[in-house]
Symmetry: C2
């Protein structure tokens, strides 16, 4: 009985699927935080190449993937689709569980799917250097890899406390040639102003974003790259769902439910959007976004205009948010600690077209533990949220005595996150309650956008 | 142009290739260290199941792989064969460079290829628990994974200093359910006697082997498992070379030279033996074993009977050795720090049928750095020795203006070895001279075997 469903390199998708023309209603405008008016391409040109800006708002359903990008995708794509037979046995479920494994990329997660085209389009636009931020390090290492492939310089503002907690991620970025700067730094006004008030600041993702954007905006040879949230990032990730559909078809199957973890939303978007496209053809697939109970953007946030960052320098978008100054507790799935959410994913959720669910981290690590002991692979803490939800769907199928086909995205491996597993194994994980009071206070400070 | 050559799961080899019937001359006996007489199966039964003992001495050329083992191999096998096109471009070489990538296993190296069958045969023999040792942690984590798959208990004596230096490896073993004991420990006579003299001992692989063997020998429900050196381990690893041959054939190619790093020898054996088998059919393939200059067993050792361990408790074998009490410097490729060598690999080298070469570690990390920046994957420090030799072969081809097909085994990824890369990037790597004086002293203490 087959375990992995592989595709030949010739089956790497030739186009990304752009969900914008299939959205329920038109997109809300993105707002310039200074003018409180809709952002124009000119507002974005100091930090993004035109090709990316065009993708951000494109109405084309299928956007060709450049040959130069597909050439590098070949290093790990198409990624394998697994049938989790040993996990099914362990659960005694009649459900079929499939997982699309994105941890096979050199950086160990799905992030290079977007880092590679972003580096490519910037190189093509004559840009010499990219600046970005990273928290846990998955995005920073992916962009470092991508810049290495296209001969671009790369500067990564890494949240200072992460430099200490995730030294291996920092080393990977440096090996791929990136300049890693602990944030807050002395290199930007944003960094200096923080350090003036708090010389020992541990940093935050919001501060690091401000530093990277300022760096890019102030240098003509430098652009900025973001690893999630934006439309073009969701677009690039759709190689995941497209491949999974073809692999499931080879297995003679189609999912009843598609599951992915959801922080900024690009991994969920990449997995689910190509399946959502099938709804027009009458396919009735559920799509489930899974988030941490400590940062429950879709499940407890509001759908409103809010700033993309804490410092109110990033554009304002219509999205589910916990408030731009909501500071999520330091859970181990660092990639899911974001106050906002992809506007596309948000709009779909608001329209009732996708589902969302949240879990506490202990429940997620328990699921990841069972997964590692049955399937071998150690899931990234972020991905463990999808594992938890998939197991729960399979258990429901067992209780109901129903067949069911479950697909989830195992977006990365956790070999560089073993410190989190140590905390779990030693019983030292804290299950943060989501601080309803604090969220409410943050929501009181939403920007007033009046169009 | 194709980058990866993939095989379907149906192409997982059905048999292991046993080189014993094709060896040049008969095998030297393995000697019992207490009696100085040849080891009998009865000597080995307290620590190994009969199926493994039979494989150790089998004259059958092809040994069937049990279905239960192939079922678990499916989780990552067949492993991909890559054409290193971007590395070729970086070198400007006319040579074609292929690499077989074993880092796709859940443990990140080739070691599970033998851990899985060893756990299986022990389970089948009614054994409840396995004991082993680990230095850098690759073997310990692989056996922990294998025991998890077959429901066996697993105790790993981990060199104490490695527990601190490689905490993530320890955590992986624990996640897969193993009991990890820092060695020397209070649980064995061997450990207690060391601690009595040196309560702060950092431990060594030799001590950890002694503890694991004592543990296994003293409990009826427990056996011992070794991750390299022995004939059955080399046998299990031949899935690597068999798959690579089939993948190269799909690409219409055959190697002029096959390269693998060599510590205990199982990764080299698994890669090269299936190609050596083609010599009878007139194929003229070179096989090159690459070792560290600081532990140059094949290139500077002698071919003689020597103990397998420092404590003289393990059997005596005819092999290349630097002397059983030779203590190699603490280089970063911990998996290559062994005074001896697989008797099969040793005999082939002594007969002039394979080549050996040694490199200092800085040269290996430089090669790994270039590899990571062109191919993306971060090599394990051990595997970087093969990368170095492959690059040098490609450079020679360039200088000579000759076409050449190079195959090497990338035996594992280095994502858990970033501390070593940090040392390299900061210029802090020490290039140990191999201490000729110390080797000579160690060689003066070889056992006197007179048969």
């Amino acid at each position: 009985m087959q375990t992995k469903i592989l595709l030949d390199e010739s089956r790497i998708p030739t186009h990304w699927y752009n969900i914008i023309p299939d959205m329920p209603g038109s997109l809300a405008p993105v707002i310039n935080p200074r003018t409180l008016q809709p952002v124009t391409p000119d507002d974005l040109l100091p930090i993004f190449p035109m090709a990316i800006i065009e993708q951000e708002v494109s109405g084309e359903r299928w956007i060709p993937i450049p040959d130069e990008v597909r050439e590098i995708y070949r290093l790990w794509r198409p990624s394998p689709l697994y049938r989790a037979r040993r996990l099914e046995q362990a659960l005694g479920t009649p459900a079929k569980i499939y997982y699309k494994y994105e941890g096979v990329s050199p950086a160990g997660s799905h992030k290079p799917n977007s880092a590679i085209p972003q580096a490519f389009y910037n190189k093509q636009a004559g840009i010499r250097r990219l600046a970005t931020e990273t928290g846990a390090g998955q995005w920073g290492s992916s962009l470092a890899l991508a810049c290495s492939m296209f001969g671009l310089e790369c500067t990564v503002y890494m949240v200072k406390v992460s430099c200490t907690q995730k030294p291996y991620r920092k080393s990977m970025m440096q090996l791929w040639g990136a300049n890693v700067i602990p944030s807050p730094s002395e290199f930007t006004n944003a960094g200096r102003s923080i350090l003036a008030h708090d010389p020992d600041s541990n940093g935050s993702l919001g501060i690091a974003i401000s530093e990277a954007v300022e760096d890019a905006a102030s240098r003509a040879d430098t652009n900025y790259a973001l690893g999630s949230v934006l439309n073009h990032v969701c677009l690039h990730q759709t190689v995941i769902g497209q491949e999974a559909k073809e692999q499931l078809a080879l297995a003679g199957d189609y999912p009843d439910v598609v599951i992915a973890c959801c922080g900024g939303g690009s991994n969920f978007a990449g997995t689910a959007f190509p399946f959502l496209a099938d709804r027009a053809a009458g396919k009735n697939v559920r799509c489930l976004a899974v988030e941490p109970a400590s940062c429950p953007t879709l499940t407890k946030g509001v759908y409103a205009f809010d700033y993309g960052d804490t410092a109110k320098m990033a554009p304002i978008a219509m999205m589910y948010t916990l408030g731009h100054d909501f500071m999520p507790p330091g859970i181990h799935a660092g990639g899911l600690r974001y106050h906002g959410e992809s506007p596309l994913v948000s709009q779909l959720h608001h329209a009732g077209l996708i589902e969302a669910k949240s879990y506490r981290q202990t429940a997620c690590f328990e699921a990841a533990h069972l997964f590692a002991r049955s399937e071998g692979i150690v899931p990234a803490p972020e991905s463990s949220h999808a594992v938890r939800a998939a197991i729960d769907e399979a258990v429901i199928a067992k209780e109901e005595g129903k067949e069911k086909t479950i697909l989830f995205c195992l977006s990365g491996h956790g070999q560089l996150d073993m410190g989190a597993y140590d905390a779990y194994l030693s019983g030292g994980l804290e299950d943060f309650e989501y601080p309803e009071e604090m969220i409410r206070e943050s929501l009181a400070r939403l920007p007033k956008v009046d169009l």
